[in-house]
């Protein structure tokens, strides 16, 4: 009975954290695009200072995500169900999709979409101190192969996801801050080229 108690509490807390996150997160209505500004800090073991990149992302649920880095180096990545592409001179060049990149894209998309509950079967979920956010959860992969790539993913948010920290198994970690969340009409948010990318690919 006593041994079962902590497990019961863990499950209860997990469900509670999850439920709280799900309740507070706003969902992206159908046909709308989520536009978010991001600042990413890549902390690599081999360097003392993090690599900082700034840009915007546009997420069209069920279609794909456009990751537009402006600094330090302009670069646009497009991720759809068909793969990961790099924009160069107006064309999309396919990049090999690995399980890690697919996984992170899927998770980020679902979390940003507000579809929290359906994306977490592969994780152990734990409540963590929420700092300034309303809620915070830590996801630990269950699967051995995923564990070889990722240690944990920490997600913080209020009505929107504001911070995601991806801890990789080699000790590197990415801190991605999201702000200026905007829900916009597709036609307003995306130019014709971007619409072409997300619908053709």
């Amino acid at each position: 009975m006593i041994q079962k108690f902590p497990l019961f509490l863990l499950c209860f807390l997990s469900v509670f954290s999850l439920a709280k996150a799900q309740q507070t997160l706003g969902k992206i209505p159908s046909g709308k695009v989520l536009s978010v500004a991001f600042t990413q800090y890549r902390h690599l073991k081999s360097i003392p200072t993090p690599l900082t990149s700034i840009g915007t992302l546009k997420l069209l649920p069920q279609r794909g995500l456009i990751w537009n880095t402006k600094k330090p180096f302009p670069n646009t990545l497009v991720m759809t169900k068909k793969g990961l592409f790099q924009q160069r001179d107006g064309d999309l060049i396919p990049l090999t999709k690995g399980p890690q990149s697919t996984f992170i894209f899927d998770l980020l998309s679902k979390v940003l979409e507000g579809d929290f509950q359906n994306s977490l079967d592969a994780f152990e979920i734990e409540n963590i101190p929420s700092k300034e956010a309303q809620w915070a959860v830590q996801l630990t992969p269950k699967d051995q192969q995923l564990k070889e790539m990722l240690r944990t993913i920490d997600i913080y948010g209020t009505t929107q996801t504001s911070l995601v920290i991806i801890h990789r198994s080699n000790g590197d970690y990415d801190e991605i801050h999201f702000e200026n969340h905007k829900i916009m009409d597709e036609k307003k948010a995306l130019n014709s080229q971007e619409i072409g990318w997300l619908y053709d690919k």
């Binding site: 081999s46 360097i47 200072t49 990149s53 330090p72 180096f73 990049l95 090999t96």
Partner: protein, 754 residues
Amino acid sequence: MTSKYLPFLRFFWLLALLSLGTIAFKNNSIQFDLLALLPDSKTEKMSRVKSFMEDAGFSKQVVILLGHPHQDKAQQALQKLRHSIQETELPLREKEAKKTQQEIKDFFQALYPYHAFFLSQKDRYLLQKNQEDEIVERALQELTSPFGTLGAPNLKSDPFFLFPRYVLALQTQNSLEMDLETGDAFIKDQGQFWYIYHAHLDQPLFSLKLQEKLSNTLTPLIDSLDVETLKTGAIFYAAAGASQAKNEISAFGGVSALLIIVLLLFVFRSLAPLGFALLVITSGLVGGVSFASLIFGSLHILALVFGASLIGVCVDYALHYYCAHLHVKRTSDFSVLKSLIPALPLGVLSSCIGYGLLTLVPFPGIQQMATLAASGLLSAFITVVLWGPTLLKKPPQGPPVFAQKIQDTLDGFAKISLNRTVLTIAILVPSFVGIHTLTFDDNVRHFQSLNQELKSQEHQIQTKMHLTQSPTFFTVSAANLEDLLQQEEKIIDQLDRLKISYQSLTTLVPSQKRQLENQRLIQDNLVIPHLKTLFKTLKIPPLKTSGAIPPVLEKVPQLPKIWRSLLSQEKNNFHGRILIPTPQNSDDLYKIAAQYDNVIYSDPPQEYSALFMEYRILMMKVIFAVFSIIILFLSLFKGPKAAFKITIPVLFSLLLTLSIFSFMGIALTLFHIMGLLLVLCIGIDYALFLYWRKKAPHTKDCCLLANAMAALTTLFSFGMLALSNTAAVQGFGLSVFMGIILSFVMTTLYLGRK
């Protein structure tokens, strides 16, 4: 005197046949290897093909795809299949995707310490052309996005991700994904999840037992799964082929036997000719196979099949003997035999001499076939001579009414007044036109007649998995590894210029010379001009890269199983293979190989096709040689005029058969030519019997009846093969069918009138 010794000779002959047959049966071994048909001088290229097929294990692979819109259902079906195969103890060993992945991982980990010397082909090209911007941009993109595809950054020792780019370039562009929970490989295609069962056989492919076990066990197992299934593997084709062959043997064999029995009973109103014919054919087969086995030790299956078919000529001896037995007045036990002299012994002798001389041809396959056929015909003849007088002793009261009617009708046909010159021109003109437009087909793929349902499944699997059929390849030989790799690099540089994709050892492990070139390219074209700018763009202080550069990689680490066919070592020689998965133009590839003494280009289907072409041409020469020998022999025996009279109708029948094929657009194959050889031997016998029958104009005979019966029995047996679904057998049967009809007609028209 002769009659006194006849029983002894008869008994001795029977004993000899039984003894020979028993010895040959006990020592029997049949070869299936096509290489065994060739003389040694032809075997090097074919040895390379055979060696590659064994190393790559193509023929033993089994691939089964299990598809369902729900991933878990497809995965469960795979588990069920796996479990069922283990329970039924089928000789299948599964290739685990996890194990393959681990081998590949271990291989690249062994290479990593030498990563300073490794460049993918594309990166090498970019650096040589001073187009390194693409590499720099990609590095920046990797470092500034969370969706890395080149693995963890290593800014100290590989800031431009060159080693991951090299590794990625080597992995086959396929659509395979891995189930993270179970480690199983699967494909997502058009809304279905296809889980893959990939195994290889533990037993020889052509084992009939295995094929039976497969048909009775594995196929129903696959069909019982509640998912969509696709399967491919040589074993399925072999089983389908064996099943088709069995069905055809039963169908054709049954129908042939029935037709022949009905024909002989209907015409002769007796089982005696059938029994006698069976005895003669059996003794021919036993004698021929026994003698050939004792001479050669083991026989090749093709020599056995075609040699045995040539023995089918001997049914003519039995039928002619029986027809002579119907009308010859008995003055002694040998009266019937005397009436068939010299036609019968000449027929046997000419065929035996023709085949006998073929044994001088330096192709083991031809030698075996010729020995088998010659000794078989001789055995059949001896049986007719020794057993005919005993078994067919009682003279009947003339031929049965229906038999006589056939003879009379054919006599009437033979008497049709035809201007021989006009007839000859009418035959020769279209024949020459036809022969000039003859086409040939030696493509081994066209002989295969593969099961269409299996072909369709194979195509679907290849499309989904981006697999290729058995590739063509270069074999490169050298005394040491460095020379081998440098030689391969010369070839792949040419392949790159021709934009031909390939897989080779040197793309996994470059030569030491190239490794040093790569290192220089990286330093001069990438690190020195761009590294500081990279750090500046990222706004981080430059890192001190590790100073010491390790020595070059000298030995190849343990290759994963999927790449082991790329390298082999024999005594002191290294052999590398460069695989060309989708060959477009073999001419360019042959030209590349021709530039080097130690390089051979092999296109397996083309090599087999070339082998078939060689045999086809050889068989055409054999027919010409046999025909010439028969003319020579008859000229010596009876003079040139008689020789031409006897052989011209047969020649015309062969020419007409060829021209009919040409007009029908049928491309000739080795198997059509083999059929024509049988037609030649049978046609000569028809002509010989008719020619010598002419010398007794007032004597009644049933020679035309005998020829007609011989022709019909041949049509009912060999001719029915024209209906086979197997291209090779169909070709043989069609040749015999048309050739025999024309032989009978031509010999009757030219030699049938008394």
